[in-house]
C-alpha cells in the first residue's frame, strides 16, 4: 500500500511538472535564438521523449539518486539534506511546543468545560486554529521584531548550527508562530478526547472504587484517550511540516520550503520532484508509524489486523 501510494506520487509528479512548464525558459533571456533555446533543452535532456526521461528518472530513484538541479547543478539529495538542517528542527520544535501548549490547554478546557473560563479557553483554541499561519508570522514580526526588536525578522545563521544558540534564536519566532496555530488545532482534539474519556463508564467506576481523579486518569483515562490522539498527532506532525514549509517564506529561512518555491519558479524539475517526493515519503511513513504505535498501545486494534479470521470464527 505504502509503496503503491509512493509510486503513484512519483508518476503523477513527473508528468504534471512536464505538462506545466518548460525549464529552458527560466534560463534564457530575451534575445536568445531558437538554436540557443534548443541547445539549452538538449543540455538539460528535456528534448527527449517523456518516457525516456521517466525511465532514466526511475533508474536514478532506484539508486537513491534524486538527480541534479537543472538550474544550479547542485545534487538535489545533498541540497535536501542541507535544507533539512533548518526544516527538521523547525518542524520538530514547533510540534513539541504545540503539544506542550495543546495538552494542558485542551485538558483544562475539557476539565473545566462547564465554567466560563473553560469555554473561553475552548473559544481561544477555535480562534487560534482558524488564523492562517503566515498571518500570525507577519503579526509577530511586526510586533516582536520590527516593534520591540526582541527577535530577528528572519534569516538563519550562515554558519548553520555551529552556534546552536544563534540558530535557536533565529528559529524562535517561526517556531512560536507555527506552534500557536498548530497548538490551537491540537488543543481542540485533546479537549474532545478528554471529554470523551471523562464521560466514560470505566472512569466513573474507577472513581467509585475510591481512586483519586488523578490515579483514575493515569491508570485508565490516558491510555484510552491517547489511542485516537496518536493518529491525530501523526497528521498534526505532517501538517506542522507543511506549515514550516510555508512559514519559511515569511521568515526568509532557506529550508525545504524555499527550495520548493524557488524550484517551482525556476521550473527546476529535479528540485521540485525531490522535495515533494521526500515530503510524500515522510507523510506516508508518519501515518504508518502511527498505525503501528496505536496497535502497540491498544491490543484491541491488533485484532483488527486479523479481523477477517475472527469474524469468520464468530459466524
Amino acid at each position: 500500500m505504502l509503496l503503491l501510494a509512493f509510486a503513484l506520487a512519483v508518476t503523477i509528479l513527473f508528468v504534471v511538472l512536464r505538462v506545466l512548464g518548460n525549464p529552458v525558459f527560466a534560463l534564457i533571456s530575451v534575445g536568445a535564438t531558437d538554436a540557443e533555446i534548443a541547445a539549452a533543452a538538449a543540455r538539460l535532456g528535456v528534448d527527449r521523449p517523456i518516457y525516456v526521461q521517466f525511465a532514466e528518472y526511475l533508474g536514478q530513484l532506484f539508486t537513491f539518486d534524486l538527480g541534479q538541479s537543472f538550474t544550479n547543478r547542485l545534487s538535489v539529495g545533498d541540497e535536501i539534506v542541507r535544507r533539512l538542517n533548518i526544516t527538521l528542527p523547525l518542524t520538530l520544535l514547533s510540534f513539541a511546543l504545540s503539544v506542550l501548549i495543546a495538552v494542558p490547554v485542551g485538558f483544562f478546557a475539557a476539565w473545566k468545560s462547564r465554567t466560563w473560563y473553560g469555554t473561553a479557553f475552548s473559544a481561544l483554541t477555535q480562534l487560534g486554529g482558524a488564523i492562517p499561519v503566515f498571518w500570525v508570522g507577519i503579526l509577530l514580526v511586526s510586533v516582536l521584531s520590527l516593534g520591540w526588536r526582541l527577535f530577528p525578522a528572519g534569516g538563519f545563521p550562515r554558519t548553520d548550527w555551529e552556534d546552536p544558540g544563534a540558530a535557536l534564536y533565529a528559529l524562535a519566532l517561526p517556531v512560536v508562530t507555527i506552534a500557536i496555530v498548530a497548538g490551537s488545532d491540537l488543543a481542540r482534539y485533546v479537549r474532545s478526547a478528554t471529554l470523551d474519556v471523562l464521560g466514560q463508564q470505566y472512569l466513573r467506576a474507577a472513581r467509585a472504587t475510591g481512586q483519586s481523579f488523578g490515579t483514575a486518569m493515569r491508570r485508565h483515562g490516558i491510555r484510552n484517550g491517547v489511542v485516537p490522539l496518536i493518529s491525530i498527532l501523526a497528521i498534526q506532525l505532517s501538517t506542522t511540516f507543511v506549515g514550516a514549509v510555508i512559514i519559511e517564506r515569511v521568515f526568509a529561512l532557506p529550508g525545504l520550503g524555499d527550495m520548493l518555491l524557488v524550484g517551482i519558479k525556476e521550473q527546476d524539475f529535479p528540485s521540485v520532484q525531490g522535495v515533494l517526493l521526500f515530503s510524500t515519503a515522510l507523510v506516508l511513513l508518519l501515518g504508518f508509524a502511527a498505525d503501528i504505535a496505536q496497535r502497540i498501545i491498544d491490543p484491541r486494534l491488533r485484532d483488527t489486523l486479523s479481523g477477517n479470521r475472527r469474524a469468520r470464527a464468530v459466524a
Partner: protein
C-alpha cells in the same frame, strides 16, 4: 493535588517563556556595529537582494543576478563598464586595433586567479570561445559572435580577429568574464581575478565574498561582502529595518520609501536601463498601421501611470534609449498624451469606431497593474482591451517564440538594446529597412561620433513610427543604512561593484 500539578506545569511553561525572552534580550542588547564615524576598512558589508543568481555561471543562464554579484567583483573582463556607462580597460593593459578594425591585440595585466594561477592569454582565449560556444546561452552571445577567431601570441598577448568591424566590441567585452581555463564546473564554484573571491555559496540564502588579498589592483575599501537573498520583498525590507542587511540593491516597492526615509535610511536614486514596454506585434492588423500605434501611444497618460507605479520617480522616455546612453534624444513628447490627437489618428487609419485587441500580460511584476491602466485609458478613445494574463513561461512560448499575439507588456532590462529594432524577426516584428541599415552601419562605424549619429537616426525613426509604446523608464532605487557610503548609483544592466562600499 491535581490543581497543584497543573500549576506546576504552568509555572514551568512560564519559566520557559521567560527564559526565551531573556535569551532574546541578550541577543538584542548585543550592539550591531561600532559607533565611530570613520569608515571601518574591515567591516563586512551585508547586501540584501531579491535577485538571486539561478546558478553561478554567466554562460549557463545565471541570470542578471550573477552579473550583480560577480561581474567586476569576482570575475573581471578585459574591459570594465563604469557606473556612468563608460568603457575602461581592466585586464587589457594595452589594446591595439588594426586599421581595418578587424584585429584587436590585447596585452594582459599581471593578474592572478583566486586559485593562485597567473592569468595568461590561454585563459582569455578559453573564456571568449566559451562565451560564444555552442553550449552558451549568455545574454550577449550574439553581439560577441562577431569574433572570428582568437590567437595566443605569447603568454601575455592575445589577438582577436573579428568577422566584421564592431565598434561596441570593447563595450561588450566588459560583460565577458575571464575565467581560469583550468577551472572545472563553474556553475557552483568560481575562479576569477577580481578583488573578491567566492567564500561560500548557500543556494536559496547567501553568497559570501572574501577580500582577495593578492588582488593585482587597488584593494577593496571593505572587509568582505555578503549577498543575502530574499524571495519575499517584505522579508527584505524587514531585514533592512532590523539591521540584518546594510543596504538593498534594488527597491521595487515605492510605497515603503517614506518609512525608510523617516527611519533615517538613505534613498539612492539612479537611472536604470529597465524600460516598461507596451509592445505591438507590428506584423498583424491593426498594429501594422503607424497611425494606430501612434493613436494608442497618445491615448495613454504615461505621467499618470508613472506616478501611480513609482510615486513620481523614474522618468518618461519616448524611445528605447535611456538617458545613460550616448545616442539619447529627448523624445518623451514625440508621441504626446493627447486623446483628441489619438481619435484623429484612429479615424485616419479607418478605425473611427475603435477596435478590440488582446493584450498578453505576464503575471510577474507590475505588468497586470499596467495592463489595467492601459485598458481604462484606451477605453476612452474607443479601443477595447482584453487582458490575457499568462505566466512568464507562456510568454516565452506564445509571444517570444511563436509571435502569436497582438500586443504584450514586458520590461526590457538591458542597456543598448535598441538593436532589437534592427532585427525584423524579433518578437515584435518591427521592420524598417532604414533602421536596419543604420543599426548595422553603426556597428561597423570607425568612430564613436559616427556610430552615435547613426543610432540617433534609428532612435528618432522608431519613435516616429511608434514601433512600441515606451511607457516609462524605471528608477534605480537603492536603500542604505546610515553610515554606508560608496554605493554605486546607477547599476546599468544589474552591474553592482561593491569594492567602494564602506561602513562607518
Amino acid at each position: 493535588m491535581t490543581s497543584r500539578r497543573l500549576s506546576r506545569v504552568l509555572t514551568a511553561a512560564a519559566a520557559a517563556t521567560a527564559g526565551l525572552l531573556v535569551l532574546a534580550g541578550c541577543a538584542a542588547a548585543n550592539p550591531g556595529s561600532g559607533t565611530s564615524q570613520t569608515a571601518d576598512p574591515a567591516a563586512e558589508i551585508v547586501v540584501g537582494s531579491q535577485n538571486e543568481p539561478t546558478n553561478l555561471d554567466q554562460i549557463f543562464g545565471g541570470s542578471s543576478g550573477v552579473t550583480e554579484v560577480f561581474t567586476g567583483n569576482v570575475y573581471e573582463g578585459l574591459f570594465k563598464i563604469t557606473d556612468d556607462a563608460q568603457v575602461e580597460p581592466l585586464l587589457a593593459a594595452e589594446t591595439e586595433v588594426s586599421d581595418d578594425g578587424l584585429v584587436y591585440t590585447f596585452t594582459l595585466q599581471d593578474a592572478t586567479f583566486h586559485s593562485g594561477k597567473a592569468l595568461t592569454a590561454d585563459d582569455v582565449k578559453y573564456s571568449l570561445e566559451r562565451f560564444i560556444g555552442e553550449d552558451s546561452i549568455a545574454a550577449r552571445k550574439r553581439q560577441l559572435s562577431v569574433i572570428d577567431h582568437v590567437d595566443v601570441v605569447d603568454e601575455k598577448t592575445v589577438e582577436v580577429t573579428l568577422l566584421q568591424p564592431s565598434i561596441s566590441f570593447t563595450y561588450n567585452l566588459g560583460y565577458v568574464w575571464i575565467v581560469n581555463s583550468e577551472a572545472g564546473d563553474l556553475t557552483t564554484t568560481a575562479d576569477g581575478t577580481g578583488p573578491y573571491a567566492l567564500a561560500d555559496y548557500r543556494k536559496g540564502d547567501s553568497i559570501t565574498l572574501d577580500v582577495n588579498e593578492d588582488y593585482w589592483g587597488e584593494a577593496p575599501a571593505n572587509g568582505g561582502v555578503v549577498y543575502q537573498y530574499y524571495a519575499d520583498p517584505t522579508a527584505l525590507n524587514n531585514a533592512l529595518l532590523t539591521n540584518a542587511v546594510d543596504l538593498v540593491t534594488s527597491q521595487s516597492n515605492p510605497d515603503s520609501l517614506a518609512e525608510f526615509e523617516a527611519a533615517g535610511f538613505q534613498i539612492i536614486e539612479g537611472t536604470s536601463t529597465t524600460k516598461e514596454l507596451l509592445a505591438f506585434n507590428d506584423r498583424v492588423a491593426p498594429f501594422d498601421s503607424v497611425e494606430v500605434r501612434k493613436a494608442v501611444y497618445s491615448a495613454i497618460d504615461r505621467q499618470k501611470l508613472l506616478d501611480a507605479i513609482w510615486d513620481g520617480r523614474g522618468e518618461l522616455i519616448g524611445s528605447m534609449v535611456p538617458p545613460s546612453e550616448p545616442w539619447y534624444l529627448d523624445l518623451a513628447d514625440n508621441n504626446p498624451y493627447d486623446p483628441a490627437l489619438s481619435e484623429d489618428l484612429l479615424a485616419q487609419a479607418g478605425y473611427g469606431d475603435g477596435f478590440t485587441f488582446t493584450l498578453d500580460t505576464p503575471d510577474s511584476g507590475v505588468h497586470s497593474t499596467v495592463a489595467e491602466f492601459v485598458k481604462s485609458e484606451l477605453a476612452k478613445v474607443g479601443i477595447t482591451v482584453e487582458i490575457n494574463i499568462i505566466t512568464d513561461d507562456e510568454w516565452y512560448q506564445k509571444v517570444y517564440t511563436d509571435t502569436d499575439f497582438q500586443a504584450t507588456l514586458q520590461g526590457h532590462v538591458n542597456d543598448r538594446d535598441i538593436n532589437f529594432y534592427g532585427n525584423p524577426d524579433f518578437y515584435w516584428g518591427y521592420d524598417n529597412a532604414d533602421v536596419q541599415t543604420w543599426l548595422t552601419e553603426s556597428e561597423a562605424a570607425t568612430t564613436v561620433e559616427e556610430q552615435t549619429e547613426l543610432i540617433k537616426k534609428a532612435n528618432q525613426q522608431i519613435s516616429d513610427d511608434a514601433a512600441s509604446v515606451w511607457l516609462y523608464l524605471n528608477p534605480q532605487l537603492r536603500i542604505a543604512a546610515e553610515g554606508v557610503s560608496g554605493v554605486p548609483q546607477n547599476g546599468l544592466n544589474s552591474l553592482f561593484y561593491v569594492y567602494d562600499i564602506t561602513m562607518a
